[in-house]
Amino acid sequence: MKKLNRRSFLKGGLAGGAAIAAVGTSKQALAGTHNFGGYPDSMGVLVDLTKCVGCRTCEAACNKEQNLPEPDKSFDDPSVFEERREGGLPRRTTEKAYTVVQKYDVPGREHPLFRKVQCNHCNEPACLTSCFVNAYKKTPEGAVIYDKTVCVGCRTCMVACPFYIPAYSYSSPTNPVIKKCIMCYDTRLKFGRPPACVEACPQEVMTFGKRKDLLKLAHQRISDKPDAYVDHVYGENEVGGTAWMYLSDVPFDKIGYDTHLGTQPIISYVKEFLGMVPMVLTIWPALFTGFHLLSNRKDAAKNEENKS
C-alpha cells in the first residue's frame, strides 16, 4: 500500500518521469544487495560481559601495543568509571585510547556490569563505505584497518560509524588523522596471533577465533546456561554482522548498546541514492536537450507566425 502511494504520487508528475525510473531501479538495486557476510574464514572475538571485572588490564595492554600516549589517569585508577563526557555519557574511545571499559550499575544485579568498547570490525563497515579516499580496508583476517597517509580529515567515517568508534587527532595541526582500534593487525592478527587486549585479560573475558566458530560457541554458552545470559549475541546480525560479538546477562539496551541498528549494513541505506546516479547521468542530458529543442521550436513557430 505504501509503495502504491509512492508510485502514484510520483506519477502525479511532481517529480517528473525520470524520477519514477530512478526510484524504480534503485529499489531493484536494493533488492539485489545481499549481505556480504564477511570473509568466510575471518577471525573475531567473543566478549563475555558477564565475566569482566573492570580491571582495565586490556586498556593498558592496548595502550602499550599501539604506542599510545600516556593516559591522564593511570590504568588502575577506578575513578575513570565515574567520568562523564557531555550529555552524562560514559567515556568513549578517543585519539589516545582505542579501547575503554565502561561501568554500568544495573538495578538488581549484584555487581556492576563492565563493558569493553572498541571497534567492532564490522563485516560491511560503514566507515569503509563512506570514505572518499578509500582509506579503509577489511582484511581477510577480519580486521578493519586504515591508511593514515591518505586520510584527508573529512570525518565522514565518524559520522557513519553506528558505534561511535573512530576518533580524530584534532590536537595535531599538521597531521591530524583518524584513530581507532585495528585489531592489532600489523603486530599480531596478520601473524594469526590474538590481539593484545584479548591476551592480557586475566579473566579470559574474550575468546579469539574464527567468527563462525565463535558464533557456535556463543549460542552453545547461551543454551548451556539459559539463565546466565540473555538470548542475544550482539554483533551476530547488527548492521550486517561484526567481528567482535558480545554475550551479556543484562538486556543490551540497558547497558549502552544500540539495539535499533537493524541487520542491514549501513551502506544499504545509501543505495537508493547511489542507484539513482547512473539514471540521472544517462537520462538528464537527453531529457533537457529535448526540453531545449521543444522550447526553441515554440520560438521558431512564433517567429514564423509573426512573419506571415
Binding site: L14, V133, C151, T156, V159, Y170, N175, Y269, W284, H292
Partner: protein
Amino acid sequence: MNSLKSQGFAPVVSDLKKDGSEWTVKEKIMLGLSPKEYWAVQLRNPFNWVLWAIYAIGVPILVGRFIFGLGWVTHSSYDYPWGLFLGWGLFTMVPLSASGFMMGTTVELFGRKDFKSIERLGLLNGLLGYLFAVVFLQVDLGQPWRLIYPMFVSLGPAAVLFLVAWHVATYLTCQVAELVPAFSEWMGFPKAKKFIKSIVLGLTIAGIILSTLHQGALGALFTYAPGKVHPLWYSSPFQWLHFFVSAVFAGLSMLIVVSTLTKWFMRWRCDENYLSNLSKLTLGLAKGASMALITYLVIKIIGIAHDNNWAYLLTGWGAWFMFEMVVGVILPLIFYTMAVRNSNASLARFAAILAVFGIALNRLNTALIAFNWQLYREIPHWRELVIVFTVYATYIVVYRAVLARMPILYTWKEKK
C-alpha cells in the same frame, strides 16, 4: 555610492570614458573614481566598519586555526565530527547557491530570455556560494592540502562524498566558464565571450546534471547515519530528493534576497533595464519557488508517511520540526502564492527571507541540532563561530566587489 551617483557620478559601463579615451584596468578597479575618492568612499561606509571589526577579531583566529589545529577552534567532538563549518558553510551555502543552475536552465535551456537581466546575478550567486563552500570545507578538513587526494591520489568512488567532491569541482569550473562573458566584457576580451557562447548549452546541461546529483548527494551523506539523525529529518529513500527539491526554492529565494539587497544598497550600479524588470522577475522567481515549495511539502509528508513517523510529531522534536515546516516552508509558500496572485513583489521578498531562513534551519537541524538526537546537543565553540562570521564576511566582500565592477547588474555597452 548611491549618494555619489545622485551627485552626478557616472559608473563605468563601457570600455570608453565620456571623452572617448579607454579606461585602464586600474581605473576600472577603482570604479572610475580617483584613488583618493575611492578610499574616501570606502571609509565613509558604516558597513565597512562592521567588516573591519569582524576581521580584527576573526583573522587572527582563522590564522590560529591553521597554526594550532582544529582542536583550538572547535570542541574537538568525536560525537559531532561536523560542526558549523560544514553545517553552515557546506550544507547551507550550497543549496542557497543553486540559483546558478536554475537561471542557466531558465534562460539558456527554456529560452526564457525575459529572465536575462537577472541571469548573471543568479550565476554569480551560484559561483561565489560554491567557492566559499569550498573555502569553508578547507577550513574544516583536517588536512586541507590533501583536498586533491580523492581526485588523483586515492580514489573511493563508491562513497557519496567522492561524488560531492568531483561534482563540486567540475561544477565550479562550469560556473566560472558561464561567467567568463561578464569578465571578458569588463576586461575587453571579446573572443572568450564568443567561445563560451558556443558551448553554453553544453555547460548548462552539465550544470543541471551536476547540480541534481550533488545537491542530492549532500542529503545522501546523512543516509550513512540512519540512527543518528532524528527520524523527522531522515528518510533513506527520499533524503536526496528532499535536499534537491529544497535546493531549488533555496536558490531562487536567495536570488530574490540578493537582488533586493542590490536594489537597496547598490542601486548606483544597477541599470534601468535591471531595475525596471526586477519586480516582474521577482514574481517570476516567486512562482518557481512556490512550485518547488509545494513539491517539497508533499515529499516531506510522504517521507514521514513512508517510515510511519507520525508519532514523533507529538514530541518536542515534532514541535521543533513543525516550527521549521511552518515558518520555513508553509508560510513562504502562502506568501509567494499571494504575492504572485496580487503581483506584490514586496510580499515575495518577505517570503524569500523566510524561505532562506527555513533552509538554513533545515540544514543545521539535519547536520547538528537533530543529529545525535539521542545523545546531547553540541554548542559550537565561540572561535568556531567567529571563523564562520569571518569567512562569510569575506564572501560578502568579494560578492560586493564583483557586483561593483563587472557587468552583472548592468549591461555592458559594447564598442560600436
